[in-house]
Symmetry: C2
Subunit: 338 residues, 2 copies
DNA sequence: TTGTACGCGTTATCAG
DNA sequence: CTGATAACGCGTACAA
């Protein structure tokens, strides 16, 4: 920039004014400066600017698993939205659990102007890491118990409830539930939805029907295996996220069972492949775009500071997408269920 | 940092030495400094450090579509690999085509120390944007015609060829090809593989059997529709990426056709869902992990400058994963093909 | 072993 | 409108 100033025979201030349009500059000088910029091949140095302004125009985004379409679809919305507002996004995925705190530290080191975090694992270390962050933080998908930050979450119990209603209306009573980590917000909330829905329908809860799938394909596969080899086999299975739906379908197939002939299946989280194959998987879809849009909006509002201090909370609703993986319970299954 | 120095009654230099371990510091003073850091709640400011050192310890990663498992699986490898080496990654996805140059500018503005780019769209603007980048650049998936940068790519013709061999060995002769954008490196190379394989087998090439799917679900759906309603319907379909495999399967289904009964299908790019449903999709799998590992390695080697100037080129091999979506050609189909 | 002082490239504050 | 000049927070010769 100094070089440009020299080349154009103006002060360093004038160059800055031209580059940033921060002050009116006389036509002649402006042209000279622009020519000099071209000649020198000057490119602005955002680092120096950030040091001065205190803003990096960068947002940190931390998601649990970049391999999960739920998160990537969300990032695919967040990134352009923030970009439109002039922000770049620095993405971290928690390849290994417990990485989260480290990533937060890394991002705050780099002075990001804001954070969008999808909490994973235990609360305590996360709370600790978030303490002392002085930039806006928005939580997505999961939230923390003290509701200190803006958050956008799903009404998980209602979403699961909808799926259960559907299954119950089809006559299913023994419904296996493949759960995520129970110590997470979503893991907990989805099991709750399951239990509540059954209780409301007067169906007794059999704890053998709730098996831990830990959000992952493999664990869910094993959970489904356990469920499907129970003395009283469930007539329907619910997988509490998309990874686990895969594991579930594999287990059904490996047992030589037919879906929906022998067992109905509903997945949580919709994804493009769900309706490409046979059966077309019935799912509870999360409004992924809304997640991204709302999270971006909340954060940008905080960034422009045109908003009250109190943490806000957006609750989104899931949507049941009925396809072909569920079927009314058969007389035979009914008999066996006795 | 100045505050810490004051609190600990030492010079600013000593604090820096303690924080970075850059010079030996007496036990007593070190403890004082550490205590002061705790007390003040000092956190290092990477921006200022970067301004001084000229390194941001940040790598820019640009991929075409973060919604595509191929890219995300790759990012899931790249991000931890670079993180282990102390680098953060700034991720940009080209939501809109032609965004690429802008993203490159954004990243160079922010003084990233290196770039991993998966080129998209036309070459010219990209070449232009990359010109004048003075940090190491590694290209993945696709490369540029002038081979100016390190690149890791697939042997696309061979990979497609393997799939064709398989189809030919099953007796298929009329094989529909659903192609990506023909003006991309991969789009071009995969069609080439198709044509070469057929030519080598003495099968004449029917241009009606090559339909543009543009890498997307919708376009591929329509392409598959065109293919499957041809007077002489192809007995097998090949979709040149995972998105297009979805569109293809949907078209097969919507036409009331059975896969593999009526038509065999092979997809390009493997993904977890491919083997969860019926049919289990036979695919040509790209070694996604290797893509990520090699790209990270090439970049890190350039970063530590322990490597010759000449651009390097890693060529990876695809792997055919035979599952249940292909079947030997039937006599009936054979008759119709005449 | 420790302190001093300068500079990295910008922006912002004051004068002019 | 324009030009000097002082920070921004840190690393690092150089001096002590």
């Amino acid at each position: 920039m100094a070089a440009v100033a020299a080349e154009a025979n103006v002060s360093i201030f004038t160059v800055s004014a031209v580059v940033n349009g921060t002050a009116p500059v006389g036509e002649a000088r402006r042209l000279r400066v622009e020519a000099a910029i071209k000649a020198i091949g000057y490119k602005r140095n955002s680092v120096a600017r950030s040091l001065k302004t205190g803003r990096t125009m960068t947002i940190g985004v931390i998601v649990g698993d970049i391999t999960n379409p739920f998160y990537t679809d969300m990032v695919a919305v967040i990134q352009p939205a923030l970009h439109r507002a002039g922000y770049a996004v620095m993405l971290c995925c928690n390849d290994v659990m417990q990485m989260q705190a480290e990533h937060i530290a890394l991002l705050r080191d780099r002075m990001v102007d804001g954070l969008i975090v999808s909490p994973v694992g235990e609360e305590a270390p996360l709370q600790q890491a978030l303490r002392g962050i002085e930039v806006p933080v928005v939580l997505v998908d999961r939230t923390l118990s003290d509701h200190q930050f803006d958050a956008v979450v799903l009404d998980n119990p209602a979403a699961v409830g909808e799926a259960m209603q559907y299954l119950l209306s089809l006559g299913h009573r023994r419904i296996g539930f493949i759960s995520g980590e129970p110590d997470t917000y979503t893991g907990h909330a989805r099991v709750d939805g399951y239990k509540d829905a059954l209780a409301n329908a007067g169906v007794p809860i059999d704890n053998d029907l709730i098996q831990l799938g830990g959000w992952r394909v493999e664990a869910a596969y094993n959970a489904a295996l356990r469920l499907l080899t129970l003395p009283h086999r469930p007539t329907a299975l619910f997988a509490a996220n998309n990874h686990m739906a895969i594991g579930t379908m594999k287990a059904v197939r490996d047992l030589g069972l037919n879906c929906p002939g022998d067992v109905s299946v509903i997945g949580f989280d919709d994804f493009p492949w769900a309706e490409a194959f046979t059966p077309q998987l019935t799912t509870v879809a999360q409004p992924v775009r809304s997640f991204g849009e709302e999270a971006s909006r909340l954060l940008l509002e905080r960034l422009t500071a045109k908003v009250a201090k109190a943490p806000r909370r957006i609750v989104l609703r899931g949507e049941l997408r009925v396809r072909t993986s569920c079927r009314p319970i058969t007389a035979a299954a009914l008999a066996q269920a006795r």
